[in-house]
Assembly symmetry: C2
Homo-oligomer: 248 residues x 2
Amino acid sequence: MHPPILEGNLAQPVIRRLNALRQLSERGIALLQQAIQEGLHRARPGEDLATEGDPVESVRIILSGWLCRYKTLPDGRRQIVNFILPGDSCDACVYLLSVMDHSIGALTPVTYADIKRPAFEQLLAGDRSLEEALWCETMVNSAIQREWTVNIGRRVALERVAHLLCELHERLLPVGMIDGDSCLFPVTQMDLADATGLSVVHVNRTLQELRGAGLIVLRDRMLTINDLKLLKDTALFSADYLHTKRRG
Amino acid sequence: MHPPILEGNLAQPVIRRLNALRQLSERGIALLQQAIQEGLHRARPGEDLATEGDPVESVRIILSGWLCRYKTLPDGRRQIVNFILPGDSCDACVYLLSVMDHSIGALTPVTYADIKRPAFEQLLAGDRSLEEALWCETMVNSAIQREWTVNIGRRVALERVAHLLCELHERLLPVGMIDGDSCLFPVTQMDLADATGLSVVHVNRTLQELRGAGLIVLRDRMLTINDLKLLKDTALFSADYLHTKRRG
DNA sequence: TACGGCTGTTAACATACTTGAACTCCTCTC
DNA sequence: GAGAGGAGTTCAAGTATGTTAACAGCCGTA
């Protein structure tokens, strides 16, 4: 079935992600790595890791790949409410709510650690810095969600798409997934539409406009940001809401 | 200045709110009441309890009055990202993020308890049920924020406004602020516009439509829902995301 | 009692965005 | 190697929503 999972530095993105929020202790890192080794899983593109209505029994930590949280209306309209990137957790504590109120779908092949509730609680109890970092991540997710509300509610299409690109860029940075000014970008225009509350056609137009202005190149699942400063300006983007300790 | 604050059943809405998420223990309720007594404050309509960029040092629990969280863009566009109702807390744990990424403004006169970080941590440590209930509330807030993203991103104006009314109704219910099928509704059409991502004029048109269909009466800060079932249908509303234990 | 400011209402007009459809280019599969 | 399906692109036409403006009612205040 699946090829064996290489164990090398699988936990690297998670550690980098959490370290950007709270300095992890040696002990915390060790505990985290151990918990991850014990619950490795994979998912394929298009597969749902969780579906609205499912009971919640475990926490998932994403080691590689992209996912999205989404909800659908009865008539099929879909809204992506967030992207989940390598190093992110699927709600450190969502199990406090016994049932999923949204679905989680894989956009690419995904490697993740599935940690059952008791093991996760032990993990939190085992190291203070780890506990704080994970709560912190949950809080940042709320902040991101608020910013999405602003983005969709009050920005016009061009600003809106630009803002999303800026956010993803900023989130990929600390986990080391930006190479120069480029990164893998496995998001279809339809996904972009569902994430920005626009139609596919209009997302296409908007991307053309960003390309035409020389701000970005987006081709073959590869995004290059030619002028980050200008892109942030057109997006009215400020990274404050990501609460990430600045590098350097 | 302010009239003295009557201490009678001030904590009542908070207790009811938290009880709807997790059954509070006797001890938890006692601790909560004590903490609230010790930090009573008031705010006036239009006043900001917190401003984007402020350091976060305490948790606030709302005893009476309505508030909203909002963010503004550099050019003045404003988006309300959530309403805060009696019994709600202002982010039990937002202090994990040292700086506010949004503002909190009072829509009406407000009574609240301001609990400093050390006192709050003691409170959480003092009772397990209380701790869980407060975390739970934080998680529900995230869920609400996700639903707002869907609402603004994928529902048309009529559905969108109807959905907001349904949510507020549903949230006011467990704290005992619905009288028959009516409630106080101290939200201007401009606030509604900023909450739904619409213009004031279009909110007005939409309200007329809801009135015309006989679904609601909204006059003099008083909202009456004539046909809740139909309102929910037109809003495509399902209360699942509020994760509230159902009465009866 | 007059005034200014806030809120709600309505109208006319402008436009950003949606819808539906057609076409291309891929890639996958049989 | 033909066919099907997913993704991107473009066009034309339609509409939901925004903008600007004017006015009315209400309230507090000078």
